[in-house]
């Protein structure tokens, strides 16, 4: 099996290579496999909720297992590895270095993902992607829960190794003629998100160990019957995973910074404000974790502090949005598939952010807590912004990865179906939450409004699913039989040699 047209190599040579583009390809294939596996579970969840009563899931635990693995797969095995794939392909090129700083460490970081993938899917745990105590300590059935904990442990180590590699590559291996202030914004996005990862992840790594020893009965950190505090787990979890939201979203914004100027035929409006906004986001990301926990009995003062901390992310996010709009202003925009995804991503980023402002206001948070509003808000971010940015960039990087062009018409159909489906599913979930439907339930009373909205959402999910099937056909077919790309200007935007240097893919070790 070969995936490159200029230097065909057997797949096993790519698998055991440490060259950054080969490791990038492995990350890419793994993340796409996770996308389709996690997406299949999403469709199953939506089919179950099409009508009240049991459709094909007979008990709540099976349903809990389905959405636990769906969430874990799409966050940790699709979005993060996809960002790593792009970073591996492009960060060394952007800082003008021959490879990542530690190529072997890079390959090791990747090879921790397949066993983690297997542990998560073979275990099929049921305690949601949060694994909240005390349920995860006292009741969650093993070995599924323990396999999930070990899987996440591996993924955490992999993420930390990857983050160290990106930071060292950027700060220590950058070409001496390239000052940090001139470094492309996509590379800046990797620097800031890697720094967040490095600071945030060890906390959850510790929490996972504590959870495991609690489950084994060796300790009682989060077990109330042993004097432990389950709320402490929530603090440790969200101290890592609220910043993690920025680890996910910052590379997606970085992707847009590469796509939007290119197809607007203009340089980015303000390089400095892009850098400032990345740095600001990476700092304020640590000032808002407890907004997930307003309902746990925090004092009014604490809630106010975290409300202000959360709102302080708004100016930095707005800086990015205004930077994109100002770049497009006065341009001559070519609406290729990557550009459509990027613009759609900006529109949905703004909508998701507006919902976030509502969530951060503590009075309304009590009304929406644990309702479908939260599901809609979270998914509008991860699908509408992060996945849209990622899909756009996948199309953008496709000629560099394969040497061929994808089918433009199918790419646009994929975008239109995903955009319509995303609006149908996640906007409606906000309203469903305001109508009082709790999240994480597999059955619901036959309230006419709930039934109508659930059916509308399921139809939207099916539209996304069909779009994804078209996407799969497009990338598989185009990888082997697509038109050969002009590697200097794959989309005919009229500028010579702006695209990534194809020759950098030749392994030198």
């Amino acid at each position: 099996m070969t995936l490159e047209i200029q230097k065909p190599r057997p797949i096993w040579k790519i698998m055991f290579s440490t060259h950054h583009t080969d490791v990038g390809l492995l990350y890419l294939i793994t993340s796409l496999a996770a996308l389709f596996m996690g997406g299949t579970l999403a469709l199953a969840i939506r089919l179950e909720l099409f009508l009240p009563g049991s459709q094909f899931v007979s008990d709540s635990m099976t349903f809990n297992r389905m959405f636990t693995v769906h969430g874990t797969t799409l966050i940790f095995l699709f979005i993060l590895p996809f960002a790593s794939a792009v970073g591996n392909y492009l960060v060394p090129i952007m800082v003008r270095y021959k490879d990542m700083a530690y190529p072997k460490l890079n390959a090791i970081a990747y090879w921790m993902i397949p066993p983690a993938f297997a542990l998560i899917w073979l275990g099929f745990a049921d305690f949601t992607w949060n694994a909240y105590a005390p349920y995860s300590v006292t009741r969650a059935p093993g070995p599924a829960a323990d396999m999930w904990i070990f899987g996440l442990k591996l993924l955490g180590i992999s993420s930390i190794l990857g983050a160290i590699n990106f930071i060292v590559t950027i700060l220590k291996c950058k070409h001496p003629d390239l000052p940090l202030s001139k470094m492309p914004l996509l590379a800046w996005s990797y620097l800031t998100s890697s720094l967040i990862m490095l600071v945030a992840m060890p906390t959850f790594a510790a929490a996972l160990l504590m959870l495991l020893t609690d489950r084994l009965g060796l300790s009682g950190f989060f077990n109330p019957s042993m004097g432990g505090d389950p709320i402490a787990y929530q603090h440790l979890f969200w101290f890592t995973f609220h910043p993690e939201v920025y680890v996910l979203v910052i590379p997606a914004i970085g992707f847009m910074y590469d796509i939007i100027p290119r197809f607007s035929r203009k340089p980015i409006f303000s390089h400095v404000s892009g850098i400032a906004a990345f740095v600001l986001l990476s700092i304020v990301g640590f000032a808002s974790w407890a907004h997930h926990m307003y309902a746990t009995g925090m004092s009014f003062t604490e809630k106010t502090v975290f409300m202000i901390g959360t709102l302080s992310a708004v100016p930095a996010s707005a800086m990015h949005v205004f930077n994109f709009l100002a770049t497009m202003w006065g341009g001559r925009i070519k609406f290729t598939t990557p550009m459509m995804w990027a613009v759609g991503g900006i529109a949905l980023f703004f909508s998701a952010g507006a919902g976030g402002v509502v969530n951060s206001a503590m009075p309304l948070d009590f009304m929406t807590h644990d309702s479908y509003w939260v599901v809609g808000h979270f998914h509008l971010f991860v699908m509408g912004t992060i996945a849209f940015g990622s899909f756009g960039f996948l199309y953008y990087i496709f000629p560099y990865v394969t040497g061929r062009l994808y089918n433009e018409k199918l790419g646009k159909i994929h975008f239109v179906m995903s955009f319509i489906g995303t609006v149908m599913v996640f906007f409606t979930q906000h309203i469903l939450g305001l109508y009082g439907m709790p999240r994480r339930i597999y059955d619901y009373p036959p309230i006419p409004e709930w039934i109508a909205m659930n059916q509308f959402i399921t139809i939207g999910a099916m539209i996304i699913g069909i779009g994804m099937a078209i996407f799969l056909i497009n990338i598989i077919y185009s990888s082997g039989k697509g038109k050969e790309a002009n590697m200097d200007d794959p989309w005919n935007v009229g500028r010579e040699k702006y695209y990534y240097p194809y020759q950098s893919k030749t392994p030198h070790h």
Partner: protein, 76 residues
Amino acid sequence: MLIFVISPINFSFALDDDPGKYLNRKAEIWNLFYRMMTVAFVIGSVVSGTLIWLVWRFRESNHKAKKTRYEEQGKW
């Protein structure tokens, strides 16, 4: 904007947990919420409208589209 958002927080924050005060914290915080939503929806409408207009006006197929000055100077 700052006056809009910060002043109700100051009222509510200054009260802390002391009983017997006159201000109704719940009313203050709801007031803050509605002010924030007013600001959010106004800005949201302006930004979304701008985005839609940008997409329509600056697409290359628009009859008013012309080469950017960066294209002409080869500086992008």
